[in-house]
Symmetry: D3
Subunit: 129 residues, 6 copies
């Protein structure tokens, strides 16, 4: 096992995905014991740690893709939180989803805006930006 | 017709989509005469002109979405050019597509990387960055 | 702002999308104040108002697309209502969804049929056809 | 084998899908000998023969779904021909695809409009409407 | 009506889809009276009865496709049960879904793993493997 | 770098993806130098090497998913070869794609059958099964 990359990835995974990521690993580890390692190593230890793109832009790109794909609401929620925790404003999150009306159509974008509003309300109640 | 917004949108459409956008309008205008106005007004006059997100980030988000959706290669090409013409580096374009291996799987991301390389080769032969 | 087209679009938006559309605008307007204008102008002021295709056929086509795309249940509901309010029979709505077993597979079509039945039950309880 | 339904379906399959359908069956019959029967029986003998929706509307709905799904260009071509051969005008075909800019985004709709124009050019050269 | 194939298909439909399939037919038969026949004849009477592929592999392939498509959770549930009832182990079900992290991305695969775990818990409470 | 897992993954990558995989890596390595390592480590070193599912079933599941997703023809080709090289018969490949007429609709399945036939013809000319 590649301890250095696992540690770097685990740190990045916790930093970016926060509680949403931890819950996913906790829930699934009895059926896929390696799931925490898999998530930490490739997505975060390899990809998210690459220096060529900042986390804020990575998160906004993730939101765009998840909106356009549809059907990935749990992950969209995690990444809206992650974007807001890493330098993106609520306005920027709204903008990137709204832009998806052009690329993926109004239905998928509207559904993602509903999710975004719920996240904002939740963060308001927790005193977060 | 809303001349102010049409002019603003048309200017932004030409600035962002460049020749790819013009060709699309030219090709389709005999079957949809309004297509130039439609593209200029909502996507560009309304959405792209909104101040809350910079063009570079908008273009990288578009590339992410088009990669994740798949099957939109002509538009992916237009937006890779647009990103490179608006402050994104080739490395940033590569990064956002590569990140889609995590969100949309390796097949869609690899296909978009093939397209990106073709665009880079084309821009090299035209002396562009 | 193009008042004529906005007014025409708003009227068409209310006529076609009814309460479902109004609720969407109400819910989202604090995060996207322009959402009502965006929905009224391009989708309805421009596209739905075009004379080349009747509303009944437009709505049945929308139902087909939303069924085939999947993951857009809120909009499917709005458009089943819209189709029934604009000259399509329940049988025609069932037919177009059932036809999607051929184009998009049984899973997506079955899921849309479940939604259609719920809408029919709701309309029965409201004394609507 | 259900000869009555097979004969009815085969007749409808030839009527609706024309040469495109025949070519598909010819090409595939050495690897799936039953493909002609499968296409004749369920899609056409069962679904397309159902009386509750006219062929013109069925074909326009098919075009909408194939546009929204993307990646099904061969079938989109067959069904544009089928629509035009069954009471839909070129304008109606354009309208239903253009409407998909709202439901599935501009990229998929534009790609389908490119295909539609090619079909129109081909039909012009064959003296068809 | 093709009684032999209907009977064979109905038997296979009940054997494979079990209660999930019956419930679907029961719920939908008042709006689509033929739905039981449609499901029995083509998917099961024709396709699933073909000898060239065993049921276990067919079910694992169905799980892979439903995971990759997303948005088809009711059917994914039916087919996880079907796989487990036809010679696939829980580990094999987990493996095929986990493999979809590579083909369709982590979001869709994680969502399908959540569903798989729920099915396992339900089967545990019913004393099933 | 985790040399043991990289070596195991690289070996499995070459064994399974064969020339198609090598070409992808060769083509992309000047824009993503790590692409060979990424493909070797997670998809093959981690996932494909897991003992809980045999390669033949993994490949048939991959073909099912790629058929249902659409738009991933290069990868579908690689995995049809991989399936045939790892214990799946041509009939089994045909069966799993044909089954996708039920799950993802006839268009996507037909397009994948066209690809399968091309691969069979190519393998015939190379004297392969």
């Amino acid at each position: 096992m590649d301890d250095e990359r696992y540690r770097r990835g685990l740190e990045k995974f916790r930093e970016v995905d926060g509680k949403g990521g931890e819950k996913a690993v906790e829930y699934l580890k009895d059926i896929v014991p390696e799931i925490g390692r898999y998530l930490a190593e490739y997505p975060f230890g390899d990809i998210y740690s690459r220096p060529g793109l900042d986390i804020r832009t990575r998160e906004l790109a993730a939101i765009a893709a998840l909106t356009a794909m549809g059907g990935c609401d749990p992950q969209l929620r995690v990444h809206i939180h992650a974007a807001l925790n890493h330098g993106a404003s609520r306005q920027e999150v709204i903008e990137v989803i709204l832009q998806m009306t052009v690329y993926a159509g109004f239905p998928k974008a509207l559904n993602a805006l509903y999710t975004a509003k719920e996240i904002f309300i939740k963060r308001d109640s927790n005193g977060k930006g």
